[in-house]
């Protein structure tokens, strides 16, 4: 049995050092029913019900809070798969073989049928098993057993038989430790960015949209969260404008006058040359935040169409998004604007474009066509309020560093992802071998 498994494992490019053993995944299950698929028939979305975890809610190995909920009755019918916090989940379709170690905040959710729920004898092995299944050899094995009749699907009986190489307990512990540290750091960087963005957004809205400091002065109060010198920069009255009431002495202009919106190219005219090509950045890449697996285009395009880290991109057709791109160099595809400005700082045009995004989406959705989009005229119709240079500078001293850290964090997360993908497969295939007497901190490369 184990020699069969070893053959499989080695055939997939894994290695098995002499002192390791190998066992099928099902040998780690709590019992014969240690694997089950989630909710078969979710029924209609029931706000306030049990969150239903779908494959689409899983991003970079992290489960986001589901938006779709099932009724109490449906949940009761599928109580066997309701999460208690000690499970390992495996996706069966979409990107089959992705593993999720269930965290405390996921307790009480119920996964959809495209996700397998695994309950283990020893739950401390969850991270290690995830690492094995997501290693190069593990992926290879999963790809080999995928059933591709309609869409790539992973079967439970194949999952049960997946070979799992086993080093010593100490090694497993060590591997799990680094895997967890990297994963947690990547997740935390994303969460930190969400907080930073919320802070910048709140400050921007308070100063430039709600005019809190101006209104405070009009009521004879000191504006919150700023020193006297900064407060003195704000006027103490409003005047009428095309945008309604705005602070005295501030200007109202069109969104397309504060930044240039450069539309991307039809890149099929620039096929890859095989030599230092660029990944094409389309809406899908913008949504993912990276260009892994995207099509390629020749580098032989005008330099302004080359996207770099930190560029503001705005997809104006289909699903409308505004993001600061941190997925590395790429070529700007049509239907995406690269937004730049000589006169205004990045945060200023980024948040103003974001501010109008809800309206833009509505405009696109009210188009009769199936692919809603906006036109340049809508950028002209969208108005922005521009403060005096003094207020702009004061805001810039806070917001510019925040945007810089945002970009920095995204890049750090990317490096950690690369590191994780490079290092872990070698650890679990024995290519990077730890001494049998491994301690917490030492390892030797054999």
């Amino acid at each position: 049995m184990s020699s069969e498994l070893q053959k499989l494992w080695e055939h997939a490019g894994g290695q098995l050092p002499a002192d390791w053993t190998i066992a099928p995944l099902e040998s780690f299950f709590r019992d014969a029913k240690g694997i089950a698929v989630g909710v078969m028939y979710p029924g209609p979305d029931t706000p306030g019900g049990t969150p239903l975890l779908k494959v689409g809610d899983i991003k970079d190995g992290v489960a986001l809070r589901p938006t779709y909920c099932i009724s109490a009755a449906t949940d009761e019918e599928h109580r066997r798969t309701k999460l208690v916090g000690d499970e390992l989940l495996i996706t069966l379709v979409g990107n089959p073989g992705e593993c999720i170690v269930v965290t405390p905040e996921m307790v009480g959710w119920n996964p959809a049928r495209a996700i397998a729920v695994i309950r283990l004898q020893d739950i401390s092995l969850r991270t290690y098993l995830k690492t094995v299944l997501e290693s190069t050899a593990g992926r290879h094995l999963i790809d080999a057993v995928l059933n591709t009749t309609v869409q790539k699907t992973l079967n439970l009986k194949d999952i049960r038989k997946l070979p799992i190489p086993l080093p010593t307990d100490a090694e497993i512990k060590w591997i799990s430790g680094i895997s967890e540290a990297l994963t947690n750091r990547i997740t935390l960087l994303r969460e930190t960015n969400a907080t930073l963005e919320a802070i910048a957004q709140a400050l921007f809205k308070s100063w430039f949209v709600d005019f809190d400091p101006v209104r405070a002065k009009m009521q004879g109060r000191a504006p919150q969260g700023m020193d006297e010198a900064t407060a003195a920069l704000f006027p103490d009255g409003l005047e009428e404008s095309a945008l309604g009431s705005v602070p005295k002495g501030w200007r109202v202009q069109s969104l397309d006058t504060i930044a240039a919106f450069l539309n991307g190219l039809a890149l099929q005219k620039f096929p890859p040359t095989g030599h230092s090509d660029l990944p094409i950045i389309k809406i899908a890449q913008l949504r993912k935040g990276n260009s892994v697996g995207s099509d390629q285009a020749s580098r032989n395009i005008k330099p302004e169409y080359v996207v770099k880290n930190g560029d503001v991109l705005f997809s104006w057709s289909g699903s409308l998004e505004v993001e600061i791109w941190c997925g590395g160099e790429g070529a700007l595809n049509q239907h995406l604007f690269k937004v730049t400005s000589e006169a205004f700082p990045k945060w200023f045009y980024f948040f103003w474009t974001r501010h109008h995004l809800a309206d833009f989406r509505q405009t696109a959705a009210s188009k009769a066509t199936t692919m809603g989009h906006i036109q340049r005229g809508h950028l002209t119709a969208a108005k922005v309020c521009i403060s005096t240079a003094a207020v702009l500078n004061a805001a810039n001293s806070v917001l510019e560093p925040i945007v810089a850290i945002l970009i920095q964090n995204s890049l750090q997360a990317q490096s950690l992802v690369t590191l994780r993908e490079t290092l872990l497969p070698r650890l679990i295939s024995g290519q990077l071998h730890l001494h049998p007497d491994v301690s917490e901190h030492t390892a030797v490369i054999v």
């Binding site: 750091r185 930073l196 199936t370 917490e440």
Partner: protein, 518 residues
């Protein structure tokens, strides 16, 4: 209970279809259900008369009846007419057909029975489809179908049996529409759309007209509405027109089955060129015309009195339908029309000018944007137009916009519907806006409904897409002020940064352990 019966019946009927096309098979099945229905109704009335004629306490009591008198009396057609029952000759009654179900010539016998029924009932002339002898079904299948139809409502009392037959007829119509998929929508509008139209229009008395009535679903729903609101069926008269001959027959049977009195014109015909009700001025018009027909134009339509707001473009009938219906409204009448979304914003050819003229003439009352995937046969998103000649005084110069795009519930992977709760909510908003008694006060709801003055619609180039006017839904802005929010966010950030530093340290140490110092 009845739902299970319907499902079982459908499954059985569908099995008998073997490989016949659903569009063809539909007429066989529905025709048989109809014959059973009129035959059962006739038999029930006859049994009732027999007992009443011999009951001394009844108005109908026949004094001193001689043998044969009762039988002769039972032949009086007026007894049947007064309850909207059809006269069915003996050899055409369902029992006769059922007895012959196993005969090889059952198809021919059914056709002959249909001919007899038509001869006896001028109202059914040309409505029954005599296609049974020619039906391309394998041997014996038609007989099995007769046996199957015999089981519907069998053993129930006559009035229950009739109701069951009516419901089965309607259920089958819907299932056939779904089975025919793409083409099914030509004769069938999904129930939730019809219900929405009816709930907003509230037809309760007077003339109800559908110029492209398909299988008559609008009328059936209107009847339900009237009954649900304690009205009498006799308070409305039904006028319809339908161009497709087979669909026209389905409609006539559908209405006859419910005992609704109807006028579907002398014959099936094109609404624009062979208007069956030229002088009709209706109280209520409900219609789901086919979307965006491009080959509707005929030279004879130049300068037609219906085109009050401008000649519709020859390549699209949407604005011809709108103006046709407006033309047929009483001064106090109202119309509700299902159309493709493009109709609300199109400015091709003359459509933009016609729409502007209709807006300025103040004949557009309510616009409703619908969710996608409501139809069997098209993914085109649709909308509802409501027209009227006289708005309530306080609503003159205003249009009510309702955006129901986000109100759908999915009933299958590819089909959605509006639930009764959603339909009621929409109807309540419209009733309040019109200022109807007991409807409460109207208020705009961001993201859902708004009453808009004509001047603002003109600013938008007379585009009538509700999404433009109702605004975005109120985003839950938690009321915490800026300072509190910043306090919370910065605390969170502090924790994340501390944790981040610890993790960075741990990763550094782990990688150092592998021999990578940095």
């Amino acid at each position: 209970m009845l739902d299970d019966i319907k499902k079982t019946l459908w499954a059985t009927a569908d099995k008998l279809r073997t490989n016949m096309d659903a569009a063809e098979y539909k007429h066989l099945v529905l025709g048989l259900i109809f014959v059973k229905y009129i035959s059962d109704t006739f038999a029930a009335r006859r049994a009732e008369l027999t007992s009443r004629l011999t009951n001394p306490a009844d108005d109908y009591f026949f004094h001193d009846a001689q043998p044969g008198d009762i039988d002769a009396e039972l032949e009086d057609r007026d007894y049947y007419k007064e309850v909207n029952a059809f006269w069915v000759p003996e050899s055409a009654r369902w029992e006769a057909l059922r007895a012959a179900a196993k005969q090889p010539d059952i198809g021919k016998r059914i056709d002959e029975a249909l001919t007899l029924i038509e001869q006896e009932n001028p109202k059914l002339k040309g409505i029954l489809d005599k296609r049974y002898a020619r039906a391309q079904l394998p041997d014996g299948k038609l007989g099995e179908l007769v046996d199957l139809v015999s089981t519907i409502g069998f053993g129930d009392n006559p009035s229950t049996a009739r109701d069951i037959l009516g419901q089965v007829y309607e259920y089958f119509l819907g299932m056939f529409a779904s089975a025919e998929g793409k083409r099914g929508g030509q004769f069938y509008t999904p129930a939730s759309i019809v219900k929405t139209l009816v709930a907003i229009l509230a037809p309760h008395t007077g003339k109800v007209y559908d110029p492209c009535c398909g299988s008559g679903g609008m009328f059936v729903q209107s009847e339900r509405f009237i009954e649900a609101h304690g009205g009498k069926l006799g308070n409305v008269s039904i006028y319809g027109q339908e161009a497709n001959p087979t669909t026209w027959r389905l409609a006539a049977m559908n209405l006859a089955i419910r005992g609704i009195d109807f006028n579907l014109g002398r014959e099936p015909g094109d609404t624009f060129t062979r208007n069956q009700h030229p002088d009709l001025r209706a109280d209520f018009i409900l219609a789901n015309p086919p979307f965006n027909i491009s080959d509707w134009w005929h030279g004879s339509l130049t300068g037609d009195p219906r085109w009050v707001h401008g000649d519709p473009p020859q390549g699209n009938a949407n604005y011809a339908w709108l103006q046709h219906m407006l033309h047929h409204l009483k001064p106090t009448g109202r119309a509700g029309i299902v159309l493709a979304n493009g109709s609300m914003s199109s400015s091709q050819n003359s459509e933009g000018q016609i729409r502007a003229s209709m807006v300025e003439a103040d004949v557009i009352e309510v616009m409703v944007a619908l969710p996608g995937q409501l139809f069997f046969n098209t993914q085109i998103p649709a909308c509802l137009w409501f027209l009227c000649r006289q708005k309530p005084a306080e609503r003159k110069g205003q249009v009510l916009f309702i955006d129901a795009r986000k109100q759908a519930s999915m009933i299958s992977r590819v089909q959605s519907e509006l639930t009764d709760a959603v339909i009621d909510r929409i109807a309540e908003v419209v009733a309040a806006w019109r200022g109807e008694a007991d409807a409460g006060d109207y208020a705009d709801i961001a993201g859902f409904c708004r009453s808009v003055p004509l001047a603002e619609i003109a600013q938008h180039g007379h585009v009538l897409t509700p999404g433009r006017y109702v605004g975005a839904e109120e985003v839950e802005d938690n009321d915490e002020d800026f300072a509190t929010k910043m306090q919370q966010l910065t605390e969170k950030l502090g924790e994340q940064m501390t944790k981040g530093a610890e993790l960075d340290q741990l990763i550094r140490q782990k990688l150092g352990g592998l021999g990578y110092e940095f």
